[in-house]
């Protein structure tokens, strides 16, 4: 049996509601994943602490505050410091194409804009995790 895919979903920052994050959480659960929902107002340190303890394959962030250019790199850095470079960092928000490219160059996975399809995101996560596990030799 294939190892379960574990995903941490968090919404960093102080802005607004977490409806979008909850919708994504439900959709990934329905796609057969174990979704750890960390909720609102998570700092990068809290997110990485949770990712480590929950031993997730994926961290998915919903960032609507516009702070994506600081939060994604910070989470990447903290994951690296924790020896967890193999964790896939993905997420969504209102992120321009150039910014997406820049973040991906820094080491995030694919990022999703507002209109992205949920099933596409699930499919991407599944394939990317499979590839990373194969590389790791699981």
């Amino acid at each position: 049996m294939e190892e379960k895919i574990r995903v941490l979903i968090a919404k960093p920052g102080l802005d607004g509601h977490d409806r979008g994050a909850r919708v994504v959480a439900n959709s990934l659960r329905d796609a057969g994943m174990e979704v750890i929902y960390a909720g609102l107002q998570q700092t990068p340190q809290m997110i990485v602490n949770a990712a480590i303890q929950e031993d997730v394959d994926v961290v998915a962030l919903s960032i609507l505050s516009g702070a994506h250019m600081t939060i994604f790199p910070r989470v990447l850095q903290l994951l690296h410091e924790a020896g967890a470079d193999d964790v896939l960092l993905t997420g969504g928000g209102i992120i321009g194409p150039e910014e997406m490219e820049e973040l991906q160059r820094m080491g995030t996975g694919r990022l999703f804009g507002p209109g992205a399809s949920l099933s596409e995101a699930a499919e991407y996560i599944r394939e990317e995790v499979r590839a990373r596990r194969a590389r790791r030799g699981d």
Binding site: M33, M46, A82, D85
Partner: protein, 351 residues
């Protein structure tokens, strides 16, 4: 557990070792790495082949933690209460671990593990370890490997373990077997008070909590519980009933005291030892059954005989009972052959 911040696992900045060997993982576990502990938990949870070797190696260090089961209907406030209790425990110098189990969908295999949401800032304390589990293949609602996961955290140095599970299916009976003290959390709105209480709850509860005491009906529920406790005969420990308001932290100190009192009672009456022995018995029994079960079906011929037998039954030429008897014979014979083979090639005794 390392009393450092949670994420510094001190991986040197050279080639990242993405395939750490088991020994390396265990070494880092010994050094207090939360990442290593989390990886070991995953291996145990997946029931991978190396899980038994890991648990065997950790076993000498297992047994120190006070294990508290927390169960009750969804939304009763179990996670919120656990968060408050953890805050208090950390202040008291303890190292709490939380294992929170939520149901896995039997249809998709997916699960939404939402207990972490209720954790406040204390979740980030270096002395706290929080792990969410899906119930996965378990029928009862508690993950099959909950006790083993708890063992890993116990060996890691957690001094208290809170095992949270939704009171559905058999999970509350399950958690009661795995914990030393079982906390049943109810709320005023959980129906017609005590009538709504599932059968068996009275038997497993060591402590009752009526949470959401800020809501109407809390006092009434408390009285109903007290009344039904009075109707039973108690040998020794009579479960106390507490009003709490987890969100505001009210009643949590009293609850902590009650947990300690129950612990003392268990110790003074030899009950802790008895509980441990019972848990040990069911653990070893499970392990044996697991191995035998796997060995039995491992070789595909038995399964093939079963399928062939079904055809025979469908043709009206056999009954399920005859078939089962034949398969038992066949299975026994196959196991005997394997034993004989193993005797021919004796393994080195384990050092």
């Amino acid at each position: 557990m390392a009393s450092r911040t949670a994420t510094e696992d001190d991986i040197p900045d050279t080639e990242p070792d993405l395939v750490p060997s088991l020994d390396d993982l265990l070494l880092r576990f010994d050094e207090g790495s939360k990442r290593a502990a989390a990886r070991l938990i995953s291996i145990v949870e997946e029931g991978r082949p190396e899980a038994l070797a890991i648990l065997d190696r950790l076993y000498p260090r297992v047994g120190g933690a006070i294990r508290v089961g927390v169960t009750g209907p969804p939304g009763a406030g179990k996670s919120t209460l656990a968060d408050r209790l953890v805050e208090l425990l950390v202040r008291a110098g303890e190292k709490p671990g939380i294992v929170a189990v939520d149901p896995t969908s039997p249809f998709t295999g997916g699960a939404l593990l939402g207990d972490r949401v209720r954790m406040g800032p204390v979740a980030n304390h270096a002395d706290v370890f929080f792990r969410s589990l899906g119930s996965r293949g378990s029928l009862g609602g508690l993950s099959l490997h909950t006790a083993e996961v708890a063992d890993v955290l116990d060996a890691f140095g957690c001094s208290w373990l809170l095992l949270e599970t939704v009171g559905v299916g058999q999970s509350e009976l399950d958690v009661a077997q795995k914990a030393h003290t079982t906390l049943v959390v109810l709320v005023p709105e959980s129906g017609d008070g005590i009538q709504a209480m599932k059968a068996g709850l009275m038997e497993i509860a060591d402590i009752f909590v009526v949470n959401k005491a800020d809501r109407a009906g809390a006092e009434k529920l408390l009285e109903e519980i007290e009344l039904s406790i009075d109707l039973k005969e108690w040998l020794g420990w009579r479960p106390p009933v507490f009003l709490t308001e987890a969100r505001g932290g009210r009643g949590v100190e009293e609850l902590h005291q009650a947990l300690l009192a129950h612990r003392r009672w268990l110790e003074e009456h030899g009950m802790l030892q008895q509980k441990r022995r019972q848990a040990l018995e069911s653990r070893v029994r499970d392990l044996v059954e697991d191995v035998l079960h796997r060995e039995l079906w491992q070789n595909g011929t038995l399964l093939q005989s079963l399928r062939d037998g079904l055809d025979t039954i469908e043709r009206g030429e056999d009954s399920p009972y005859q078939l089962a008897r034949a398969l038992v014979e066949q299975g026994r014979a196959a196991l005997a052959v394997r034993r004989a083979l193993e005797r021919g090639h004796p393994r080195e005794p384990k050092g």
